[in-house]
Symmetry: C2
Amino acid sequence: MTHIADRMSDIQPFHVMALLGRARELEAHGRSIIHMEIGEPDFVTAQPIIDAGIAALEAGQTHYTPTMGLPALREAISRYYQSHYKVDVPANRIVITPGASGALQLAFSVLINPGDAVVLADPGYPCNRHFVRLNEGQSIAANVDANSNYQLNESILKESWTSNSVAAMLASPSNPTGALVSDNELKAMHAFIEQQGGVLVVDEIYHGLVYGQQEKTALAISDDIFVINSFSKYFGMTGWRLGWLVVPEEYLDAVDRLAQNIFLAAPTLAQHAALAAFKPEAIAIFDQRRDKFSERRDYLLFALREIGFDIPVNPEGAFYLYANCEKFSSNSYEFVSDLLEKAGVAITPGIDFGDNAADKHVRFAYTTSLENLKEGVARIKKYLAN
Amino acid sequence: MTHIADRMSDIQPFHVMALLGRARELEAHGRSIIHMEIGEPDFVTAQPIIDAGIAALEAGQTHYTPTMGLPALREAISRYYQSHYKVDVPANRIVITPGASGALQLAFSVLINPGDAVVLADPGYPCNRHFVRLNEGQSIAANVDANSNYQLNESILKESWTSNSVAAMLASPSNPTGALVSDNELKAMHAFIEQQGGVLVVDEIYHGLVYGQQEKTALAISDDIFVINSFSKYFGMTGWRLGWLVVPEEYLDAVDRLAQNIFLAAPTLAQHAALAAFKPEAIAIFDQRRDKFSERRDYLLFALREIGFDIPVNPEGAFYLYANCEKFSSNSYEFVSDLLEKAGVAITPGIDFGDNAADKHVRFAYTTSLENLKEGVARIKKYLAN
């Protein structure tokens, strides 16, 4: 007798993991694979952070930190909100978490009762709806597309909102589309949600990886918004598992209690190392890397459109291109599998991001060198020519 | 309008955190405080692990590992089950988690439907019941005391089991009592649970810190048991946040899917560093430290009994003594607060471990030097003499 909880029927795997497994198998047999499926920067963590990590180890920083995080790191992030965004966010509202995953869990477990609904953009990051499900909530998939710049907006949100809705969540820049939400739409949505007595949750984990403009934080609009951020993307610290959650004052006590119980504290070493992420020499490295991502985006966007992928809106951030592949296949999962087997190029099928026209879409990640991207594009061209 | 989910009314803080905060305040004002409340080893992580961490950083090991963990670490743990316990546990059933906290969450989120009940020992580690609550389950507090060696046994379990029970969980050695479950009782409980179609979850995070005998793993009884373990205690890696879950074969797919979604992977650096934990030179350090804990236990057990604390059963493991303080106070929280203010000794009130005679009990942690323990005992004696 196996006791697998009902929620597990609704919590899907990342389908790309099976493809990644197959890609590794092919590589083990000597095949060359171009990886354009991986959602993490290819760069090793910047040297100033590595050095700070080594120094922390040498100093024996191996015990737990306080649950809410190392005070110096919370203060450093608070200063960063001031210097980078010109927004006041007091350190006591910044909770250090084990990755943005930890922040998502804190937010949803504190906010959602069984049966409560949360409006989420489709396509979107699949873990969001799984965290809602984990808390016995119900996620409402609000379809977004090129007409809404692949983001929620006030009118979509109003249509999607139900009497049992308690929150809406959006990511800007978005995974998988790289789209930014506009300041005006965000304000309008915030006002609508406030009027409904609900809560707005904004994922800003791709902040810093925005090209040709300066992104704004939702915290500039109001301090009643939950904001999720991470050291994984712009700061390049994926494997360290470090993120943060900015919490409205009245939820702080509940978030603290929950964090004490579900993870005790984020990894100590990562927290000490992350202090170096705000040094000018580290920021200079991150900005150079951002420029590389920008260059890769420009190349890949042009090349994929030239091949015939439909990417109707220019993605403004993150490191993804979300492309319509209908011209080549009406089953994006088969398309992606075939591309891997025959062309040695790994990309992610739309199904990993929801149900909305998922069969017609794929995601390209430009988390590999320009040289590799060029080789990947050449392989795709050759594959499609056959 | 604040949307704090109902579950948060049942998820309590660690009361000791408020005391710890007060202790830090007193220290900031120059008071000397003896800390006997802290649930983590005082030792810095052993040098071979620190060295392996530095080497991993120098080698740029900063990306994600696979969700289920670094294959080499899963294999090292599998070999450890063979060498230390003479039990076969294949690496594919060992899931690396962000601390034992991550393992607890995986187990309970995969096992429990809303309304399902889990039998837990009271006193016990409070997070267990909070993880049950987080999954909308119901925890059944089964009172344990000196008569049952502060552990669940077959007769208590049978009395506590209800028609909606799906699992029972126990910890051996236990926090807060340091008690081991006997092999025969564990077998009998396993048989009963099997007959009921339920699941047994065993917390073995204090394994290695057992004094004067060799502990056995529940996995020797059956491979249908969920076993939680950690690198925090015997291996001394608290701040690294690393644990593992041994999963019965038929739950592996669900656990993998859930882990992909809720934390992606455990910290990479910790996983590389932990590989060094199985080297003979590291094990030698852990065993020396275990001998120190053993010496501290012997001293403190004798000294506290001499003062008049009632500790009816000799604790056999972990680094805690659970003592009846009724002779001095019928309100252990007040007693603990007063002891901190007047004597400068911090211990943990019984209320942090459940409801069962919590007012009459306190927990002493011997996670500080013998010298400090002696000073603490002297202060307590003096306080009680006034």
